[in-house]
């Protein structure tokens, strides 16, 4: 294993050449033991690179990484491992070695969900619903554990007890952003966090595009929810398109900044996302009964005249107590009783003092 890590960390040699070396010498250990002459025969390796490889024949660094991995209970996934998805392994820039924590399932049916870190309530809803749906129906929800859409996608999936993978732009022992520490723990329990970078690596801006690359190469389909004009999500979508993976984009209002990128994606040929069913329909038969369950309207029995009136007034909007009180024309103190009853019956939700129909 240490030879794998050594090979993947060779300075001045990227994944493409690394793979060529591997092809030629069969395994990393032989690369390690190869002399300068035979190295030079590999296409793309010049004199200086060969010198560089010969002079860096030292496994200390790799051993250190293995030690660290052992301590944090992390594991190594090499490109010829059967858990490494075939699709991802065939990408030209896919790394030889990935570090991960948790479990990686074989034959992943991955759906990537990416989007803006600063998302709107709409984006949050889309991401949560998608995560939940795909988690429920056995897809692997793949995202980047960033704030906003990424986080909600993972959260939705976990809430549905689904399987989810997070690609990090840091080492797998570092939680970024910090407030996701609880989320990260749950992802490890119900999936995996994966990174190209060895443990202990702090995030750097240039690492994140690589992370995006992995998200799309591990996914068969990619859903973009809310992306502004220049965002990482768009980079991911761009890579995904080139990798030949289906890109879906959730439409947004044309006036919102966060929706500009996704709308542009649709304009440029991405598929219009109209709900999770749309994506899953094409490749999985989910019985129509299962679908109905969620949509089927609950019979609102056991509800008084005035409570019905309140529900009608709230409708699709979010109202605060004093607004409802004015519209229903009863005083706030009395109104509270009805609102509380409705909340307890599950017809109303109250978020930060604003009531909306469940």
């Amino acid at each position: 294993m240490e030879y794998w890590i050594w090979l993947s960390r060779l300075k001045g040699v990227g994944p493409v050449i690394q793979k060529r070396l591997l092809e030629r010498f069969c395994n990393p250990e032989s690369v390690f033991n190869a002399d300068r002459c035979s190295l030079l025969k590999v296409e793309g390796i010049g004199e200086s690179t060969a010198d560089n490889i010969v002079s860096s024949k030292n496994l200390d660094d790799s051993m250190r990484i293995l030690d660290k991995l052992y301590k944090i209970d992390g594991r190594v996934l090499t490109i010829n491992d059967e858990l490494y998805p075939k699709g991802a392994a065939s990408m030209i820039y896919s790394p030889l070695v990935l570090y991960y924590k948790g479990d990686i399932k074989s034959n992943l049916d991955g759906i990537g969900i990416v989007g803006s870190r600063r998302c709107s309530q709409y984006g949050k809803r889309v991401a949560l619903q998608a995560g939940q749906w795909f988690g429920k129906y056995g897809y692997a929800v793949i995202s980047g554990m960033a704030k906003g859409i990424d986080g909600y996608a993972h959260t939705g999936c976990l809430k549905a007890s689904g399987y989810t993978i997070a690609f990090l732009g840091t080492g797998i022992d570092i939680c970024y952003p910090k407030e996701h520490i609880g989320l990260m723990k749950r992802i490890i329990e119900n999936g995996a966090v994966v990174s190209e970078y060895p443990p202990g690596t702090n995030g750097r801006p240039e690492f994140f595009p690589r992370r995006n690359y992995h998200i799309s190469s591990w996914s068969k389909k990619l859903l973009v929810v809310e992306a502004s004009e220049k965002s990482g999500a768009l980079i991911t979508a761009d890579i995904a398109k080139r990798q030949g993976c289906d890109v879906f984009a959730a439409p947004s209002q044309i006036y919102t900044k966060t929706g500009f990128g996704t709308n542009m994606l649709i304009k440029n040929g991405a598929k219009l996302y109209t709900g999770p069913k749309f994506i899953s329909d094409s490749d999985k038969k989910i019985s129509s009964e299962q679908l109905k369950k969620k949509i089927g309207t609950e019979e609102k029995k056991d509800i008084t005249e005035i409570e019905r009136k309140i529900l009608d007034i709230i409708g699709d909007s979010k109202l605060v107590v004093n607004e409802i009180s004015k519209l229903v024309e009863i005083n706030q103190v009395e109104l509270l009783q009805h609102l509380a009853e409705l909340e307890l019956k599950g017809f109303l939700n109250c978020i930060s003092g604003r009531y909306e129909c469940a």
């Binding site: 600063r118 407030e179 004093n322 307890l344 930060s352 003092g353």
Partner: protein, 511 residues
């Protein structure tokens, strides 16, 4: 023989009698003051010398020793000037007290022999009376504060010469000004009727005030949290004489009465800024002086932007909130101050301030992280946590406010009476918020209807057992407001809606 006059000093909020002993000894002219005085006391010699020379007196050219007994207690303050000067004059036979009563003296001297006011007068006068001293002479500035105490004759003078002439009997006390206890008009010009469109919140505030519950308001910037908090003292019951005295004592010791010279009749409202240090909040400093929580005694301590306070500072509030008293220990002194306050706090729902609206772009994880700045135990002590909703400015005129502060106060007072009767004879419990487990069991029985609701609440929100305990107390207060003996269904419903912050958690998209 040394000349001895009585003076006083303070330790914490309590005063004690100090004997000022002066002796002249033949030797190098000098004056030394012993008895563990601080710099202010030591500097008295300069002020006293200047003041004595200013009048018709001579400063004795001898070695002078002044002792402040008890000599093993540290003393501070400039109020020993007057007793030192008088005892020195008597020691050097420049005058004699011809009046029969026993006097005590406090007062700072200016360089031209006038008397200046000092702090802590109220406590000292009380101590003097309790020690059986018949009369006390105080600076004119402090006369009103001192006159609050019955059972001791208080004389106020402006000049050292006047004091001497009065004591000699050559002048009668003619300051007959009827000492009017200036009562600060109760909360001059603020009233709850100015708060519009927040009827529901006001209802909860009434409950908080009635049951002694601490309250947390959560709302977007500019929605009126501070405005509402400022009005809470206007609905608290009027302070009793005893309570007023307690508050005045603390203020007197803290030196905050000077110039106002009156009994504090208005419930204190303290709103320290969120960069307040732990010591300024709890009490401390060189002399272990009272902090904000003691200055808010019998009133309201309002912590605006509570999430911005440092965690340590907030956590330091925990003990005083339980004990209603705080012991401040410093190298030089250890003092106990009362700290029975109602804690009212305000915060934003998230770091951008607009959680729940489309304006907010915080992720739910960030919102939770922001809220975690308030530690669990502090949140635990907030019985009522309500969201404050912004009111549309253009609609303001259409709201008709139906409650004025005095009406609300009547309701609060009514409910407090009910509670007083209930907790008669139970030590340390005055209001519903202070009930312990066993009292809750005894006084907060529920019928099956109410228990049903709690079951529903549990199914939906999964609150902890502790939280339900809180609900019971709050619903008790709701019932008390109407004078109902039993807790009714509506009381329970209202109470289970009193913990918005915890309720929010269940609807958040986090794992």
């Amino acid at each position: 023989m040394a000349t001895i006059v009585k003076s006083l000093s303070t330790k914490g909020v309590e005063g004690y009698v100090v004997d000022v002993e002066t002796k002249t000894i033949s030797g190098q002219p000098m004056i030394s003051i012993v008895g563990l005085g601080d710099t202010a006391v030591k500097e008295a010699r300069e002020r006293v010398e200047a003041a004595i020379l200013d009048g018709r007196f001579l400063f004795p050219q001898m070695k002078i020793v002044v002792n402040l007994a008890p000599s093993d207690v540290k003393k501070s303050g400039s109020h020993f000037d007057l007793p030192i000067a008088l005892s020195l004059l008597m020691e050097s036979n420049q005058f004699r007290i011809k009046r029969k009563e026993e006097f005590a003296f406090i007062g700072e001297l200016s360089l031209n022999a006038r008397l200046r006011g000092c702090s802590g007068v109220l406590s000292m006068v009380i101590a003097a009376r309790d020690a059986g001293i018949e009369s006390i002479i105080v600076p004119g500035n402090n006369i009103e504060e001192a006159s609050l105490i019955k059972g001791i004759k208080v004389y106020g003078f402006d000049k050292l010469v006047d004091v001497v002439e009065f004591l000699e009997g050559s002048m009668e006390y003619d300051r007959i000004e009827e000492v009017q206890v200036k009562v600060h008009d109760n909360n001059e010009n603020i009233d709850f009727s100015e708060v519009q469109g927040q009827d529901l919140l006001i209802e909860y505030i009434v409950v908080a005030a009635a049951g002694g519950h601490n309250m947390l308001m959560i709302g977007a910037p500019g929605c009126g949290k501070s405005m509402i908090a400022k009005r809470i003292p206007t609905i608290l019951p009027k302070m009793s004489e005893q309570e007023s005295l307690e508050v005045t004592k603390v203020y007197s010791v803290a030196g905050l009465l000077m110039g106002k010279d009156s009994l504090v009749k208005k419930r204190p409202f303290r709103a320290p800024h969120h960069n307040a240090s732990t010591n300024s909040l709890i009490g401390g400093g060189n002399r272990a002086t009272p902090g904000e929580i003691s200055l808010a005694h019998n009133g309201v301590l309002f912590l605006d932007e509570i999430a911005e306070f440092s965690k340590r500072t907030l956590d330091a509030l925990r003990q005083p909130m339980e004990d209603k008293i705080v012991t401040v220990s410093r190298v030089r002194e250890t003092n106990r101050y009362p700290a029975n306050f109602m804690l009212v706090a305000a915060m934003n729902p998230c770091s951008c301030g607009y959680y729940g609206t489309d304006k907010c772009s915080c992720s739910d994880y960030e919102v939770l992280k922001y809220r975690q700045r308030i530690s669990g135990p502090i949140l635990e002590r907030m019985d009522i946590q309500k969201h404050v909703q912004p009111v549309n400015f253009m609609d303001l005129s259409t709201y008709n406010s139906n409650w004025t502060s005095s009406q609300l106060r009547e309701r609060v007072e009514f409910s407090r009476d009910v509670q007083k009767k209930r907790f008669k004879g139970i030590d340390g419990v005055n209001c519903n918020a202070q009930m312990g487990q066993s009292l809750v069991k005894e006084y907060c029985g529920l019928d099956s209807d109410c228990r049903n609701i709690l079951q529903k609440v549990y199914d939906r929100y999964k609150y902890s057992a502790r939280t339900f305990h809180k609900f019971l107390k709050v619903s008790r207060t709701f019932a008390d407001l109407d004078g109902s003996k039993n807790i009714r269904k509506k009381d329970v419903i209202a109470s289970v809606m009193s913990r918005d912050l915890e309720k929010d958690k269940t609807s958040m998209a986090v794992v």
